[in-house]
């Protein structure tokens, strides 16, 4: 592939920002969103006048409750942005698909500095009582006697299989069957996340957790227990994607988008995918490495989606960071993936301990670590090459970042 064809390389990450994050903040979702956006703009060394593009996932959505704190138009209008390009949408390669779109937009010259954001208030939307949003997007919702499942959900809901917790549990179970993966191995995703969260003042759950704590937790959907499931929360994360030649003199060294992976091969379906020991990330991982001379062994840090713990294991395999089927032994004991191990993983605590900021939290953390701005949880040597991936099931995307 001609170097000039890999146009995402003309883009970089130039700044990141976050709002307050909490289990339940009961704050106005748009206000929370703007907090995150303004923090990222300021962090990049830009002003709202510099922002000429906007990208978000998933755009305005009423259900599940709290799933989307603001759409692109909401933020464009509130900040009075003048945009050469803008987009939002759910049907893309995971939450970070919106960031990939922004890379392509700046590479094509439609915009120079794109504000990308993801905003959630699922914690507050669930009210004081709590409880998980149990029907996935596309499943309708709202309830009432007249509810009828449509689309692909009509082939899942009658069988009491309404949620990603159940679907991903079935992926994990297949992986357990094919490769002998165990709960004692899976636990290390949650335990590693928690020990990292202990050092992150913005994480939601920071109390130490032991293997005994993990094994004693109540089961949710086997093989997943409570600690294999991420935490609904409130918070907004934003990142600035800039054209590289316009980012040289900004506040942070540009993090070049060396390559992206967004391919999906196989049916775009959770239950009808041909091999449930892997996910759509198998295509995204292959595509990413086809677009760069870097190799998996060059990666010094991996921030990998953990909406459910096993998804991180799946990403490790799909990205070639360990062999197919070998993620269990790879993470067992937690030595390799610890903050000062050979491949630090989810150094902020992941969504399991730091809250379901829904994909963007991993990019925020990856950039923070590569800039050496991680505070108490900083990886001892700030990584020059890092990988960030988000999504699961039929919606997966990854970015390889290189600090310049």
């Amino acid at each position: 592939m001609d170097e000039n064809d890999i146009i995402e390389r003309r883009a970089c990450i130039s700044g990141v920002g976050q709002s307050a994050i909490g289990r339940r903040l009961f704050r106005d979702p748009l206000e929370l969103t703007l907090d995150g956006c303004l923090a990222a703009i300021e962090h990049a060394g830009l002003t709202t006048d510099d922002i000429d593009g906007i990208s978000t996932y998933p755009g305005p959505m009423g259900t599940p409750a709290g799933f989307s704190g603001a759409g692109a138009y909401d933020v464009m209008d509130a900040l009075r942005l003048q945009c050469g390009w803008y987009a939002s949408g759910l049907e893309t390669s995971g939450q970070l698909g919106s960031v990939v779109n922004a890379c392509l937009a700046v590479a094509s010259g439609l915009a120079t500095h794109v504000l990308c954001f993801r905003s959630v208030y699922e914690g507050s939307a669930q009210g004081e009582k709590g409880g998980r949003a149990a029907v996935m997007p596309g499943g309708g919702g709202g309830g009432g006697g007249g509810f009828k499942a449509s689309g692909f959900m009509q082939w899942n809901l009658p069988f009491s299989a309404p949620s990603a917790a159940i679907w991903i549990a079935m992926f994990a179970q297949r992986h357990f069957y094919e490769y002998g993966t165990t709960r004692e191995q899976l636990a290390w995703i949650a335990l590693n996340a928690r020990r990292n969260a202990e050092l992150n003042p913005n994480a939601i759950y920071r109390d130490p957790m032991s293997m005994d704590d993990y094994m004693a937790a109540r089961m949710i959907s086997s093989p997943f227990c409570l600690y294999d499931c991420d935490i609904p929360c409130d918070g907004a994360t934003a990142v600035i994607v800039s054209r590289r030649d316009a980012a040289k003199d900004l506040r942070n060294p540009p993090l070049r988008v060396e390559a992206v992976g967004v391919r999906i091969d196989g049916r775009p379906s959770w239950d009808q995918f041909d091999d449930l020991s892997t996910m759509a990330n198998r295509g995204a991982g292959k595509q990413l490495w086809e677009r760069t001379e870097y190799k998996p062994a060059d990666v010094q840090m991996a921030q990998l989606y953990d909406g459910f713990s096993w998804i991180t294991m799946s990403w490790l395999e799909a990205l070639g960071l360990c062999g197919i089927g070998e993620s269990g032994p790879f993470i067992e004991g937690g030595e390799r993936i610890k903050r000062d191990g050979v491949l630090p993983v989810n150094t902020h605590g992941g969504q399991l301990s730091a809250g379901r900021l829904h994909g963007y939290g991993f990019l925020h953390e990856g950039a923070t670590q590569m800039w050496g701005q991680g505070g108490d949880r900083q990886i001892p040597t700030p990584p020059e090459v890092g990988i960030v991936a988000a999504g699961g099931g039929n919606t997966c995307g990854a970015l390889l970042l290189v600090r310049e």
């Binding site: 309830g143 006697g145 509810f147 009828k148 009658p158 009491s160 309404p162 297949r174 449930l276």
Partner: protein, 138 residues
């Protein structure tokens, strides 16, 4: 359970899928069969997803399958799933090839395993809807 109770488990049906649901009430698991290329598919569609022919008909499946994967569901807050826990959600692979989301019944949780042979059974979940569930093939 009355129709007025909020519930999230009922499918929408249309003219294309009604025969599938009608078949289940009569104790038949109907697969879509392509008369042009000979392949079976699921979910049922008005065209063949392999060759896009619209020469598709209904064919009664053998009802024999094996478990592909499963999860024992202990927590779900939505009605009526909250009244069903714990239950087994599973994907089975039909003898004819397609995989189907379903439930496994009449099997202790600790005897669940992938590749276990199962056979279809029919379970009404409302006055109008019967679903295919699977039990161990004895």
């Amino acid at each position: 359970m009355t129709k007025a109770t909020p519930r999230f488990d009922l499918p929408s049906t249309d003219t294309e899928t009604q025969p599938f649901w009608d078949g289940l009430k009569e104790g038949k698991f109907l697969l879509r069969h392509c008369d042009a290329c000979g392949r079976d598919h699921y979910y049922p569609r008005p065209f063949c997803p392999d060759c896009w022919s619209d020469r598709v008909s209904w064919k009664e499946a053998s009802g024999r399958a094996k478990i592909y994967t499963y999860s024992v569901v202990h927590v779900n807050d939505l009605p009526p799933f909250n009244e069903r826990v714990p239950y087994v959600a599973a994907i089975v692979e039909l003898e004819e090839g397609p995989r189907v989301m379903t439930n496994i019944e009449a099997l202790p949780f600790d005897e669940l395993r992938a590749d276990l042979p199962v056979v279809v059974d029919y379970k009404p979940i409302s006055d109008d809807v019967t679903i295919p569930v699977f039990r161990p093939a004895s």
